[in-house]
């Protein structure tokens, strides 16, 4: 129940994000979610795409440093307190979040939260036990 995420190293230079998205568009790769983490000197772009291997290959060909990591996608109702509920569970279960980001799916009913935990197996087990829906990569792309 893990989702593969593409991570790309970005120097803080203008136009780099545009180049990446153009590279993916040229290969007809669809971006479902993204987040950018940045420091004073560099950034890390994290992407959920429909064709992971293809995306990695084309970005590498174009000179980017690319890594694939596993993340967990949790579906919650898109209403007040949706995120708060998950985070409360995470706190109670003593799970350590490395980073997270979120997007709302097309229907607007549900939101998808992308998490990277230090202990992924424990996180999956805890979230499922407490009744959350964890999505697969295919499910996300089908949303």
């Amino acid at each position: 129940m893990r989702v593969e995420q593409i991570a790309v190293f970005l120097e803080n230079k203008s136009g780099r994000l545009a180049e990446i998205t153009a590279t993916l568009a040229a290969k007809n790769i669809n971006i479902r979610a993204l987040s950018v983490a940045d420091t004073a000197d560099f950034g890390i772009l994290r992407l959920i795409v429909d064709k992971v291997e293809e995306a990695k290959a084309t970005l590498k060909e174009n000179g980017f440093t690319v890594g694939i990591t596993n993340v967990i996608a949790v579906e919650v109702a898109d209403k007040t307190g949706g995120l708060a509920g998950v985070l409360k569970t995470i706190e109670q279960e003593r799970l350590n979040v490395e980073y997270m980001y979120a997007f709302v799916n097309k229907s607007g009913e549900n939101a998808v939260l992308i998490f990277r935990f230090d202990d992924m197996d424990k996180a999956i087990e805890s979230l499922q036990r407490t009744g959350y829906t964890i999505l697969s990569g295919d499910q996300i792309c089908a949303l």
Binding site: A7, F9, T39, F42, I44, G63
Partner: protein, 435 residues
Amino acid sequence: MTLFWEEEMETLPRVGLESVQLTRLKKLVARVYKTVAPYREKMDAAGVKPEDIQSLADLAKLPFTVKEDLRDNYPFGLFTVPMEEVVRVHASSGTTGKPTVVGYTKKDLKTWSGLMARALTCAGATSKDMIHNAYGYGLFTGGLGAHYGIERLGATVIPVSGGNTKRQITIMQDFKSSVLLATPSYALNLAETMESLGVDPKSLSLRVGVFGAEPWSDNMRDEVERKLNIKAVDIYGLSEVMGPGVSMQCLEGQTGMHIFEDHFLPEIIDPDTGEVLPPGEKGELVFTTLTKEAFPIIRYRTKDISRLIYDTCECGRTFVRMEKVTGRTDDMLIIRGVNVFPSQVEHVLMGTEGVEPHYQIVVNRVGNMDTMDVEVEVSENIFSDEIKVLEKLSGRIQNDIKDMLGVTCKVKLVEPKTIQRSEGKAQRVIDNRKL
């Protein structure tokens, strides 16, 4: 009226000086040949015997000594006396992991402090002075070398070392420091800190500054003189030859530094062919020590570019003057007074798992401080989707460089292939300082 420390020697006519030099050179070569195997082997390979040295011109028959010889015989292999006679060691940056080590006997320290006292006298210092020694104390020859020279002169030494700039200014005010010893960039840093604290340099007792250990331009000298309201003079030295006090600018002459030729024999060579160049030409400076005991050195290639000026100087000293060093024949950088070889940085990077040998060193002067950025390409091996992992990596490299080189730098992670690949020799260094 020129002040002298040892007037007779400092004003000896050239004929007399050359006779002193030749006597000392012959003795040195005979001793080194007898006691140091690496020197003997090199001389044998070149087919030269100590008896072949019959004139100063015969010096050119002897093989050169280079920094690699020091590395190959690390740490004490080129010492000519048993360790029990060595009373101090100093070290400077080697080209790779290991530093370059030099040693001194009791007599060497006496010679050195005498030459340093001579140098300070050139700058007009006397036993009445309060001398603020802001050169770093430690393995670096600057701090201790100057320290014992000041004591020998009979002046009062303030062993303040580097750093803690505000406290240094308080000390200057309260102790009435009259002579400042520092790197020129640190002198400017002091001047600017005074400005920001609202301390008027005219209210201080500073009269003269003795600056060295890093290259500086005439413009920088003017700036230091104006901002600190002092006269600035240049001192030169390197640990392989002795340390500070190999040559010194006098107050009277405006150009160049007098080489203390009764102890150090200079040559200027063509760095490509090794040929000795005629007087007055620009080339690589080579030194032979004439009086050192523990660590004498024969024809040491300094890799510093300079020129020798044989005109008589207004001060009355007959010692030849060397022009301010205008460059290097190798890629050594001097960052805030510390010698840095790109190969040392490479050594650290290669010792960091996953890091590829694509890096670049970018040097800038921000305000008056040198900054060094080390750009490292992020390969898949070291890449992570977590910021903290990457920051830990750059922090670790930064610490390792600080540990090994003694210089604080900033490690910047860059995208792969962004560092220019050159054909042949990679351009490892971009030095944006305008000296």
